[in-house]
């Protein structure tokens, strides 16, 4: 009965490509978004505006300020007083205020402890944490130098850390985000298109005609799914080309495996979309439900924020999130060259999801009413 399926597929393709605006949106939007948003998604903190109140003015304090400037993270703001600094912080023009106490230089030379005060705008907690870190590093380096020069050692004794950044030595955030955003775009397009598809036939009334034809449920759903699987693969390919040639994202693992996972994942997403499509009456409803779930799925997928940092109960919920596994796999395979054995657990889960969701969709699509 594959001939029947083929006829549905042909029809769907004709309908999709007839609407030129939609074709533009389906292919153009994701490409533009991948190009733009890969640059925006970046937690790196640069150009921190710092105001330093120097109440000491000793050679040591000046040297310390130079060290901060030389770290390249900070831009000095010149104002007169501490209160001016606070005002600038209110207006978002200063991120951090550092105050060097009197006797700073004297204490350093005597080897006495000395405190410096740091006030950070902490509304963005992540940024505040990173600023703290940067400053801490500068202080550490500065004090180590002071100690070694004082006790005339060539090297500081202690525990040294020799750190390596594997898989992305330049710490380029785009390497991490490009595969993630690609996943997000494919998910959203496939989900929305499939969610609106059957509903559309309900809205215009053609579904009644189809119900009295000998099409079987699974033939109908399969015929509806296939075009979107193919569209999804085309989109994935396009995205992969952009990732590789434009962003120079590495593709360490097997491309065959990337496609294998993508196909199974697309079937999974389309199953969700089709399911939504069978429980709604209008395209608007379908769109909203699809939107609602995709927002939650994407936020809880580890795409932008780490899953490990979520509370345990939320992590358990995230275990049910199919996008999580797919993002995981795509990043593992693309960036680390993981093999099938490495990701077989994720594969099993995606396959189970795909089967369950599509069976649900088929069962829930009633050719017979009542």
């Amino acid at each position: 009965m594959l001939r029947t399926v083929r006829h549905i597929i042909t029809k769907e393709f004709k309908q999709i490509f007839r609407n030129k605006t939609m074709v533009g949106l389906i292919f153009g939007m994701p490409v533009i978004q991948l190009l733009i948003f890969s640059y925006t998604a970046n937690f790196e903190v640069k150009e921190i505006n710092i105001f330093i109140e120097n109440r000491d003015n000793s050679p040591a304090s000046v040297e310390f300020i130079h060290k901060i400037e030389a770290s390249n993270y900070f831009t000095l703001t010149n104002v007169a007083t501490y209160n001016d600094g606070l005002k600038l912080m209110e207006q978002n023009n200063v991120d951090v205020i550092l105050s060097i106490p009197q006797n700073f230089g004297k204490n350093i030379n005597l080897g006495k402890p000395t405190n410096i005060a740091v006030v950070t705008d902490a509304i963005n907690g992540l940024k505040a944490g990173i600023i703290q870190n940067y400053l801490q590093n500068v202080v550490l380096r500065f004090s180590k130098e002071k100690i070694t020069s004082k006790v005339k050692l060539e090297k500081m004794p202690g525990i040294e850390i020799n750190n390596h950044n594997w898989y992305n030595p330049t710490l380029d955030y785009k390497v991490f985000m490009v595969p993630g955003i690609l996943v997000m775009l494919i998910t959203m397009t496939s989900l929305f298109l499939s969610a609106m598809n059957i509903v559309r036939e309900k809205e215009i009334g053609t579904i009644e005609q189809l119900n009295v034809t000998p099409i079987r449920k699974w033939e109908f759903i399969l015929g509806k799914l296939m075009p979107f699987v193919l569209l999804g693969i085309a989109e994935f390919t396009l995205g992969l080309l952009i990732a590789f040639f434009w962003f120079r994202t590495p593709i360490e693992g097997s491309i065959v495996m990337l496609y294998l996972f993508t196909i199974v994942y697309l079937i999974l997403v389309l199953g969700i979309g089709t399911f939504i499509s069978t429980v709604t009456e209008t395209q608007q409803q379908a769109m909203f439900i699809a939107w609602f779930f995709s927002v939650i799925f994407i936020l809880m997928s580890g795409l932008f924020t780490p899953i490990e940092s979520m509370p345990v109960w939320a992590q358990r919920i995230a275990d049910f999130n199919p996008i999580k596994y797919y993002i995981d796999v795509i990043r593992l395979v693309m960036l680390k060259g993981s093999t099938f054995v490495n990701v077989s657990k994720q594969f099993t889960i995606i396959v189970i999801y795909a089967v369950v969701l599509n069976v649900l969709a088929i069962l829930n699509y009633r050719k017979t009413s009542g």
Binding site: M29, Y39, Q91, L126, F142, P157, T282, V295, E308, L332
Partner: protein, 366 residues
Amino acid sequence: MRTFLAFIKKEFKHIFRDKRTLLILFGMPIIQVLLFGFAITTEIKDGKMAILDLAKNRMSQQYISKITSSGYFILKENLKNYSEIEKSFKRGSIKIALVIPEKFAENLGNTNSSVVQVIADASDPNMATMLTSYLSGITNSFAIEKRLVPEVPIKIESKMLYNPENKSVFMFVPGVMTIILMLVSAMMTSITVAREKEIGTMEILLVSPLKPAIIIIGKVLPYLVLSLINAFTILMLGFLVFGMPMEGSRILLFLEILLFIVTSLSLGILISTIAQSQQTAMMMSLMGLMLPTILLSGFIFPIESMPRILQILSNVIPAKWFIIIIKSIMLKGVGIRVVWKETLILAGTSLLFILMTIKKFKIRME
């Protein structure tokens, strides 16, 4: 006036008839705020770690227990040799690996130092840098504790202003509010107007004695009310559940929210004059509005870190200005004297959208 009221009544009925959409419109903000508040955080903790301890001496054990008790790391695997490191990374089961050398911290006396290797999975650069720096902080204080190094004489006395407990929800509440207001105002209006165009009822309205401006106001008024209810819900949640402060003037906050809703509504109307079908209106608002609002507004990712061209581009995103205003008023307690510039930009944008709509409308009528 009576015709106007009748018209608005009809609009409200349309909205309240569709219970499912309504449920999503009201449920969405609540779930998103709760999710962001309780579950999602940009903070890095519980980093999954593997340790290869080649020393196996007292020092190394104390070092490991110092690391695991810090709260930043979870010890996932005790490795036996180097080759296992890569395997664990490829399975994705760890984010960072620590190799403690043989004779760790023995004979440190003079110029000798022990070198520990830290290997981070830098495919997530943020995670890698944060974990590495946590680890170096822990290592440093361990060395000081064990008197392996002289104490650092300079101490930082830190004060976190406006958000002393460093809650990410303070960042997210304004962000979620912005997105929801954008969704309800811009997306919903553009879709309803496109729908009326599709089924042809727009023409009937246009030939009725109602003035076009009145029709538009009648269409957007219900969504203005919906948006205000949503904004109120989100603020109350932030306030009651997450202890968001409300430092600044409430009246000013209300006016600014109203201003942003007007901006979004005028944008929605503008879209609907361009889009011919519901589907196109949906795709335009969804793809063209939602993602830029999330990603280019500084809601999750700092604008300062973006390439210059995107920083410039972000200036045309109304959400960016609104988020600045909300944070300044609520968390910093500043008044209009500080946020007048942003307010002016939003007002100007709304005016521009409205003028463009009127122009588009006129062309169609001629």
